[in-house]
Symmetry: C2
Subunit: 258 residues, 2 copies
DNA sequence: CACAGTAATTGCTCTATATGCAACAAGGTG
DNA sequence: CACCTTGTTGCATATAGAGCAATTACTGTG
């Protein structure tokens, strides 16, 4: 039984379980039964029973210290499968390693999913400033370098959806005028790379370039991220060349003939 | 209703969903409804409806090409959260990068879970021979270098469980005699590293060393893996020193004072 | 181009089962 | 030691999930 019933013909208890899993986040990685119950509007006992089922399959576990639940290692296992299934993943690792070594900045690969960028893979540099992104993280399309590259090459529909959801002014430099964004994207498409000038997070710059598959479609983006002190305006030109060539290398490994 | 009913008071439809997710593997990353139905002994319609629920939350998706289901990006997102929650993950990345660069071999971090080794993190080398392990993969404890290190430092109970489940002869060199394994583990504990001499996979050698937390407990292992041609007996000594020092570095980052 | 043949989806029925409530147990805290 | 918060469990009920079978959607082949 349920009050939050059939929006579709989905299995409600399964849907509950999945919503429970998804309510864990980077900011709230551990939760109590009652937290979840409150935040999802589910009965405590429902959550309790769902959690024990999830725990029985290793999808969550109770941290013995904090006595709260955390996501379990079964998810990690599945995540590994997801990754290894993506061709880009396989092909990009050595290229990422190389560029990180050369430029000394963190690099990652991302794709477009559900009108957001999602980071598939990341190779960190050894600098202390890190952890701005993580594998699986989702960011907006219109104010990150990866996002803008992907958006620039996506179809009109995606662009419209993004506008519809609204452009939020994350920082002073975030582009929130649709016309301006449109022409900016056109430029990105022409020049073959994009850079984010603290458009999403203060003090964080990034440069991205598209990765093509064998059919020439843009399927992913390679980006480097770092503090604005290191990725300065004056260095954009040089860095972008390197980012483009790395992205091209992956593209050609993916069977793309320019 | 269900024939595969209440072994406990778990939610059966949720359990089904999780079993469905877990039936995807590295070897079988995409599946049809009927495959799953057959392999799990669930009714086709049950699987169908469960799958659409899973799809609605992004846990699976239908590959437009093959028309089969694959694990979805929601799982990747959750996987990222799992990782970032583990202190080891954070601390080990730069150390792994360094050792991979130096030795030119793939390195990874693993922990003990449910009487198996599970690989948390991996930095690949640029050699063509790769993909023997992947993040989230589970391997036996008694015949991998990481596994043996973890087993050597685990409590008696784990050891007994492993024996109970049986030691399988994966290769010619797999140690399957309990007494021999026991003394071998004791030696590993003394010398501070272990090496697997093709004990799990033909042609694959590895060297591992334990990582300690701030309380001195062994919580993980660092290992390098590679083909036997490169990780030869004669090099074990030198390599193991490097593996030990890298593992120690992570340990000290974790707050361990030797 | 139609016709097997396989696979997935959906309507329907019925009973098992997931849910909410409330009582209970288990810690934690003042 | 009593009080509060939090998680688990028994129970009754309504409901949602399972199975079956028919339908629809695809694939490939003669």
């Amino acid at each position: 039984m349920a009050i939050q019933t059939n929006e579709e013909n989905y299995l409600s208890s399964v849907k509950n379980a999945l919503r429970i899993l998804r309510c864990f986040s980077m900011d709230e990685p551990e939760k109590k039964i009652s937290d979840i119950s409150a935040s999802l509007g589910l009965n405590k006992s429902t959550v309790s029973r769902t959690m024990s089922t999830l725990a029985s399959e290793g999808f969550v576990f109770k941290d013995p210290e904090s006595k709260k639940y955390r996501l379990g290692l079964s998810i990690l296992s599945l995540g590994g499968i997801v990754n290894s299934q993506m061709d880009i993943y396989r092909e990009s690792q050595p290229v990422l390693n190389k560029i990180v070594q050369e430029l000394g900045e963190t690099a990652h690969i991302s794709v477009l999913d559900n009108n957001e960028v999602i980071y598939l893979q990341k190779v960190e540099c050894n600098h202390p400033v890190r952890f701005l992104t993580h594998v699986g993280r989702r960011n907006p399309l219109y104010c990150t370098s990866s996002g803008k590259v992907l958006l620039a090459h996506a179809n009109e529909e995606v662009f419209n959806t993004v506008l519809q959801k609204g452009l939020e002014q994350h920082t002073k430099t975030t582009i929130i005028k649709p016309e301006k964004l449109k022409s900016h994207l056109r430029q990105i498409k022409e020049q073959g790379y994009s850079w984010s000038n603290e458009e999403y997070l203060e003090g964080v710059n990034s440069i991205a370039s598209p990765i093509h598959d064998y059919k020439g479609r843009v399927i992913a983006a390679l980006a480097i991220v770092g503090p604005k002190q290191r990725i300065q305006q004056s260095k954009i030109k040089g860095y972008s060349k390197r980012v483009i060539s790395a992205a091209n290398e992956i593209s050609s490994r993916m069977g793309y003939w320019k």
